[in-house]
Symmetry: D2
Subunit: 389 residues, 4 copies
């Protein structure tokens, strides 16, 4: 049976082998990671050890050279076990893309080799306090400082904030006429002027090490630029956005699959002493499970089609990418909601892993581009309006 995301033989082998090993570890610690709101160090360590941090790094840099299909498949599998691990991983692989295609970053090859070797974990730092979820519109600015730059920024949410070795960050270019005239640059761990500026406690994905980060008088060397000045928006929208969308959609599907599996098991096993029946004997519960599965497979099918389209880009590819993320975010929220309703008290009282999945699923809804943004982008595209008007 062909994999819905169209992965090749090497990708298939990864799933049944390296990924399966990481997943077992992630699963073992997921409840503890959630309860304590701690970083999933065991699973992230295993990802590094298994070479999976370099999944989409070119082979010539020591990576596995896989594309979006394998990225989606791995992200989805991880999310069936531990949402926080999947989130950290999706952010890392996504942030590695603008690095991989950068024409301006000094020491790019060494960095990619470190990523492939599992010794460098990266992430994105886009959203800012001033522009909220409009990640494409930084309010922070690079100020010229000789051949280099300095910047101040209040980054509102950075995943893996304390554990990443670098952040892929954004700011307006010097003398930008609008927030869209921006640049991406790399912030290295331990650089002077980088400070985790507050605590963070979320409803879900409690182990993803999110935090607000303050950049204060940060020195940005010319060689730290990931894009040319003024070319940040295309990199954000044409490189980061597709990979982020694919990865987060797949992660959402992993949560859906976890919910479907736990619900199917509960309905098949739990029953009534006074009648001898099982929960699956109630047609309404069966219908709810069916709806969960259909929603999941619909969204996975669209993602599979989107990934295929990225491999042979056509006019509708960008619209497919937006729609794939949109559908997956809605599916995750709806499918886990239905799981809570299907499993009732057993889900609510944590006898099943469902309530964690239910909470984790809400996280996708709040990261930009949000469902509201995506509806708006798609609606504009369909009626001939500019996307950022």
């Amino acid at each position: 049976m062909a994999h819905v995301y169209g992965i090749d033989a090497a990708g298939t082998a990864l799933l049944s082998d390296a990924v399966a090993r990481v997943k077992a570890i992630a699963e073992r610690h997921a409840a503890d990671v959630d309860a304590k709101g701690r970083f999933p160090e065991e699973a992230v360590g295993a990802l590094a050890k298994e070479g999976l941090l370099g999944l989409c790094v070119p082979k010539e840099m020591g990576g596995l050279g896989q594309g979006p299909g394998a990225f989606a498949a791995v992200g989805e599998e991880l999310a069936t076990a531990c949402g926080s691990t999947a989130m950290v991983y999706v952010m890392h692989v996504t942030a590695a893309q603008p690095i991989a295609v950068s024409t301006t970053l000094a020491g790019k090859d060494a960095l990619l080799r470190a990523i492939a070797a599992g010794t460098h974990l990266t992430t994105l730092a886009f959203s800012e306090k001033g522009s909220r979820s409009h990640f494409w519109a930084p309010v922070s600015m690079l100020a010229t400082d000789g051949a280099n730059f300095t910047t101040d920024a209040a980054k509102s949410w950075v995943t893996t904030a304390a554990h990443a070795d670098s952040y892929v960050s954004s700011a307006q270019a010097p003398k930008a006429g609008s927030p869209l005239e921006s640049a991406l640059y790399l912030v290295r761990k331990g650089a002077k002027g980088v400070r985790i500026s507050g605590p963070w406690a979320g409803l879900g994905l409690r182990g993803n090490d999110s935090a607000p980060v303050a950049l204060e008088g940060l020195h940005v060397a010319k060689g730290d630029l990931l894009t040319e000045l003024g070319k940040g928006a295309p990199a954000m929208l044409e490189v980061v956005l597709p990979w982020f969308s694919i990865g987060t959609a797949a992660m959402a599907h992993g949560l859906c699959r976890a919910a479907v599996a736990a619900t199917a098991r509960h309905l098949s096993e739990a029953g009534f002493e006074h009648t001898g029946g099982k929960l699956r004997d109630f047609p309404g519960l069966r219908a709810r499970l069916a709806e969960m599965n259909v929603r999941t497979e619909l969204s996975r099918s669209l993602l599979g089609r989107t990934i295929a389209s990225m491999g042979a880009p056509a006019e509708d590819t960008p619209l497919l990418v937006l729609q794939a993320r949109l559908a997956a975010l809605e599916a995750a929220v709806d499918v886990t909601d239905l799981a809570m309703k299907a499993c009732g008290g057993a889900a609510f009282s944590k006898h099943l892993p469902l309530e964690r999945v239910f909470r984790d699923a809400r996280a996708g809804w709040v990261m930009a581009p949000t469902v509201d943004h995506l509806h708006d982008f798609v609606g504009k595209a369909l009626t001939g309006l500019p996307l950022f008007g």
Copy 2:
């Protein structure tokens, strides 16, 4: 850009050529067909003339030898123009399948050649008054009459009732222990004892020539049997059901696409004299259109995946088939509902073709297996229960 249903070059050429010609004819007459509740004879005539009645008849019988992908693509295209034409066509191609694989029908090759030549239009006659939408459970019975049979039946809904040259019908086999021990047989136009037993007027698909049909003392020759005695259920569930599901899902998608296109056009063009704005300037209307498109493409993606799976059958293929039909029926109802809400008075008052599409879309919901059946089947499959328990 690859077609979502995975059709080959010959299929692609058909779409841009023969199908496009039929579609133009169907479009021209669709409003009249709906208003008068009359058979779409122009479009069905064109289908015959263009060789499309033989789309899935083997090449050696003079047909085009196409598979489910082309069937879906053609059914969808027709439905964007005229739902009634698409319905008649889907029933014809579906009913031709048990004929094509029959090992018992006398004169099978001649019949297939007639279908390919466009001189024979066929359809299904499964549902009965006594078993309502449980099409897999006929209450009518074949009674032994020497080497042959007679039967009486109250078939509740037969599409193309007055215009078909044959019906593929169902009955319990003689001495059946349950309604599932059935057989399929062919009823030919003009046979003694076949009577259209009542009028029919529906909310939508008003030109699909549906009617209740009474079979009264009908002679069924041994050579009219399409299956062996007792083998009706497998033929219904393994041959007819997949093709019917694919075809009706695709037809639902055609209605969705018509709704998306008409809505996008209306929002882009209609506006306000007192402000100069267009409807597309309202974010709520754009979001509604986006939701319509996402729902449509989700369901098309699942159907594409299902069709691919039918080409390389795996364990989950039957479940994909059921889910593809389920998703498409729900999409058609929801997408056309959103279109009515997005376009308001212009849709309600028939200035746009939307209200016909809205009515046509409800038809899928009432044909078995209905959305309720499908939820139940999928839920049973996922919890390890027998489908007909």
Copy 3:
């Protein structure tokens, strides 16, 4: 059991007596009115004969002196039998309100006595082609002509267009600075320059005699003004809007009640020959019916509370009015949709009256203020924004 709309003993007597007689007549002709798209003259004649056209006309003018509660109760009852009759009636009673409170109309008492006597049927003519559903913003203008006025207008939808004896119409006052500086005036049947300017065919409410009306060089005498110049907007928003909202909400509830009753009857009666069971034995169908009833009673309860609030106005009364209409429009669409899904083929094929109710229910959605307007108004009120900003 107290009536949910809080009517008094006289109102209760009306329901069981005069209204019941009219309802029986309306019911008898409803299918024909719908099929032919013709005016429900029998039922409207009966309303006149029974004195119900004067339901809310003051007793001193010969009316029944009832308030919003009785209006809602009668409108709802009529809608259970014939949506078109209810629509004509709701428009009449609503349009009679600005007449009853006018301080400028010449011959007001005689007009009210005619209404009470059942010899004068009135209606609203607000919406215009240029401002679409923004009924509060006429683009037409009154031009000064000595002490009087002339006007030209393209009224887009006028209910009872051919059968009303007068229209309550709107236009901008001479030299208005914005469309909100308007006036209401009375257009009498047969006045020179009044022309039904086009046909109308809708999905539902097919007997409500809606049509676009052109006013061309219409003479408007000073004594035809229903408000002072510039005072149209308050009359529209504070007099017409509450009565229109109450009446159309109640009408929506009548359609809901008809759907609930027909569905309960069908599920209780229809069954399966091969198993002996009834449709009500399916938990999913019962749940759907339950949801229909709950939605109906929720919306009726809010309307009852709103009517009580209108009798002792408080700060939140206007917000209740908007929410009551909003909830009722959504209930009507959702409840009739569920009825179609619960009753399947029997509903779709017109064996039950449900598909007419389903179509009628969509009409509320397209009359301004629409559901979209109402969401926006309520949202603005709750966040401290001006309603027309």
Copy 4:
């Protein structure tokens, strides 16, 4: 402005006075109660001190003699501040009802006086492991022991398990022919054989002190019976169920109101640095808030009508009670879901109190009668089927 639950002047005074004081205390500790999963002792202590534990105890026993309207109003107010406090309170007032009407309980007056004095906190212990959410069908049994009884039971969820002074419990009567032939009896704190049999950790209502309770060889004196043998079901369904339904519905409304208020405030205050706009400027967010408010007020209106109907019982009163609970549970889940979607990251990351309310709101869904039960009961009532068939 009349209160939607129809409370009298004494009730109104309570709200602005005693209840307001308790609410302030509950609000202060709500986040801590939730974070630690601890009993809301401060607020429950204040309820006792303010005399509110005796709200619905007859005045002749020292209570406040209020009815269901005041119960609903107080429960709703408490829930706007702290869901766990409201839950404990609703269970207490509900459990006091079968005590108040008991004809068999020894020492009833003293017990009621203690409740009124705030020195006795009671609760329900109905659900059992063996019959899951079918609370009306205990599998535990009273065994005759001379004039008295003994019993064993695995009560699956008891609110206030560790802090209540008594449980109102259920069991099958000796020699019962079905689980419906039951009796209610009182379990006193510290009785031998009562054991909290496990921990409990829920998604929401984390301070409500729920736990499974084992009754092992518990002695039940004849005078501990709250009903005659075999009369448990009528007491559960006609006394407990209405009060429980009213109280939990009102509690759900309190959560809704908290969500509406927090969302309105956030949309009005939060904005964008780079544009100067506020969140309320987005029509989609306003519409979401509007929908939240409409859903809340619809459900409150139905509860108000239900309470009025309980004061003058009619044939439809029991159906109203079931529908009021059903609507409120669905409203709480939907309204808090919309709040999370409207407020995005601010809600998810606990900057607003919304995520606690969101989690608390799911609790109603899992307590019997659940939404699924209620749909089934209402559907059966509407189609003429027995409720427990």
